[in-house]
């Protein structure tokens, strides 16, 4: 772990909010927290008494490692990993294409496995290691899959590309790249509307056949 980033929001007193959140958790058993939190928050919000209190109750701490950097965040339980990456960490390489787990543009690796980050709530991945497209290359040296996508022109507009590449790396790691047909099957969770599929398959086959570690 190289670095730890503590995130604070501008014009907000994060410390106070974090404390109230922590105190609230401390003073409650898990069961009473489940019973009380939604009602309390909704009531505070509904009465419009003190939005900051409501916000404090609505947020939870989240520790995760993204591309080798540890982050301590405070997130709403309803915030998806996708939106946390894009809106809070400014890691916009991970794309939003549908928000419903139907297109694969948001594919990232969680502890080495591909997941749709739009179907993953941030609070579900506490303590886990995330790799996004921004973390795939080693500095200026591209990952072999990135090189192969360039060589085989595995994209046009480039919007689905980060998800395709993250999926493609997993496709090989999972042992699902043993034939053209198998690659097509295991890459079918990633839609490319520009229609680069044959080029994507060719890129993956080359990396697989090249035998480089992915």
């Amino acid at each position: 772990m190289e670095d730890t980033k503590h995130h604070t929001e501008p014009e907000c007193e994060m410390e106070a909010k974090d404390n109230s959140r922590r105190n609230f958790i401390k003073q409650s058993t898990l069961l009473t927290a489940i019973a009380l939190t939604p009602g309390t928050a909704v009531k505070a919000a509904g009465m419009h008494i003190d939005e900051k209190i409501a916000e404090a109750f609505e947020k939870m701490p989240l520790k995760m490692e993204v591309n080798g950097v540890a982050h301590n965040l405070s997130v709403e339980p309803r915030a998806t990993l996708l939106d946390i990456l894009r809106e809070q960490l400014d890691l916009t390489g991970t794309k939003k294409g549908c928000d419903h787990g139907q297109c694969g543009a948001c594919t990232v690796h969680v502890d080495g496995h591909r997941v749709n980050s739009c179907l993953t709530l941030g609070v579900m991945i506490s303590g886990k290691k995330i790799t996004t497209i921004e973390g795939l290359a080693k500095g200026d040296e591209l990952h072999p899959m990135q090189e192969a996508f360039l060589k085989h022109d595995g994209f046009q507009c480039g919007y689905c590309t980060p998800g395709q590449i993250m999926s493609a790396v997993s496709c090989i790691r999972e042992g699902h790249a043993n034939s053209e047909m198998e690659i097509r099957e295991y890459m079918s969770g990633n839609i490319c509307r520009c229609g680069a599929y044959p080029n994507i398959v060719n890129a993956i086959q080359e990396v697989k056949e090249g035998g480089q570690p992915v």
Partner: protein, 719 residues
Amino acid sequence: MKETTTLKKSAQTDGLSRVDGRLKVTGAARYSAEFNIKGLTYGVLVGSTIAKGSIKSLDTKQAERAPGVLTVITHLNSPKVPGYQDGKPTGNGVFKIFYDNKIYFSGQPVALVVADSFERALFGASQVKAQYNQDNHQTNLRANVNTAKAPHGDGTYKRGTEDAWKTAPVKVEQEYIIPSDIHNPMELHAIIAQWDGDDKLTVWDKTQGVQDARDEIAQIFKLKKENVQVNSKFVGGAFGSALRTWPHEVAAIIAAKALNRPVKVVLSRADMFTSVGYRPHTWQKIGIGATADGKLVGITHEAIGQTSTYENFTEGTVGVSQSLYACPNVNTSYKLVALDVGVPTWMRGPGEATGAFALESALDELSYQLNIDPIELRMRNYAQTEPQGGKPFSSKYLDEAYKMGAEHIGWNDRSPKPGTVNENGWLVGYGMGGGMFGAYRDGATVKAIMMADGNLILQTAVSDIGPGTGTAMVSIASEMMGIPAEKIRFDMGESSLPQAPTQGGSSITASVGSAVYAVCKDLKEKFQQLIGNGGTDKPDYAQVLKQHNLAKLQVTSSAQGGDERKKYAMFSWSVHFVRVKVHPATGVIKIDKVACVADSGHIVSPKTARSQIIGGAIGGIGMALMEEVVFDHRYGRIVNNNFADYHVPVNADIPQIDALFVNKPDPYINPMGAKGMGEIALIGMASAVANAVYNATGKRVRDLPITPDKLITMDVELS
């Protein structure tokens, strides 16, 4: 199962890789929603749940009280939009968002909830309560064809004798139907709007034309053009959906003004089905007749497409029947039915893709009746000059394209008798279909700056939705200047750069490419002036600058077409060949092999051109086999507004695709001899698939998409 691998043959990796490729594969390319601007707020739209009527009441109190919500904008409180104040309601090409209480289609935005986070805006949007006065709506084209009206004049075209096909000894008359198809680029339409005072505006906006968007926005908000900056450096696909400025873009600009903070609005995937256009559901009827030896006698082509009640959208659906074949008698008619739906817009191969499905299917049907090979039938009616006015073509090598495609697909293996070839329990068939699209050229201006280190910078305001405009332009400049591509930077996607047209109609390589060509030529001349007589044509630019003690040398040049268009008819052509396998018991269709041939002049950038053809073919496969907007007409609402229910091709649906080019320059269209290929990549593909399915099964499907349920009643012998 034995797998046919054509990888080694198909994988072509020669040619310049995308100049912006590294940014795209590393996630560094930023699209419109991805600019982290200080004080950014998030807007979420609330859509109407009725298709026609008016808003009775809007309760926004709960939404306004929700944590983090900053404002809720509706027609009741929207700041006045200067361009809307002509006293007229929505209509005539302008959809006036938040203007009055009228509802024109289901999903029409009735409120924009803006909050300090996306989650809070989304929750706030769920708290807006609207009540409506509902009117009877009409969303069903088939049920309303009796209301069809010609958009201009009587909407007809005629040469020779009307309905002459009826007098021919061999004839076909059939109806062909396409549903509405949605562009569905992977990037959701998005905008960030930021005001600087009352009269200056910057937007990061998904658009195919930054300068057209600038002009439209300046008009709507009555701003000086130079005070509106539109940025769209990376566009995540569009296929036509970003050719115009849509209401959600205006909504974000309104909200940014009301809040005096930057506002980001990203459409949901469901919004993409209602708010940014589509290829319109169209009914067509073709009557076509020929002599016994296959000479066309006449074609009658009627089309009725859907549009909205507040704006007419027209496209050239029947044009293909007027120009594709040498046929003495042709008459066409084109009408629209206005429905309570969002307005359609141009989608890849607009009009022609729809028309070519009908015409090329009908020609295939005729070929079976005549017992003449479909390619031979086309060759017997090959247009040597433009059939409408008799002008010579600037270039046409479609005959060569037929030969190349037929050879690659193995056309000789095709059985002329449908439903007769069975391979391991699968019926096998071959089909072909082609199309054409006008080869256009607009004016464009490019600035070229040769830097002291010998690096060249080119600047123009074009956008790139994916075909690889930057790559093609760098290829042209590299060849012209004699310097490697790595030393050339192409700046684009900002409205303040020199004039360039909107990326549409397959015209960018011809238009902007010509300006790149011109500016390189002019820059070289400037160097020649420095060097004096006898200098080399491609000198060491850095050295020349150093010798003359110059930090840089720059020139701005424009290019536009001359009167060649008056003399010649200019088109790009394509032909697609498909081999399909159909499972007789389940109706499952597998695309087994595809060969597409483009006659689009000189190929400037081979690697990206190949991808463009493959991509268009895959779009055509989607159109043929799976894409279809489904309405529940009881509610006037689309029911399959997501990628689970609206099917597009995925990797498993697509084999290797051979993209072939005649690659002969057009001598007249522009200095490179390049014609467009974005549209022709798709036009004709759906008919090639449908024709192959018929050849495999003997079942002719004339209403797209060709889903398995339409085939399982196949009356073919199973062996």
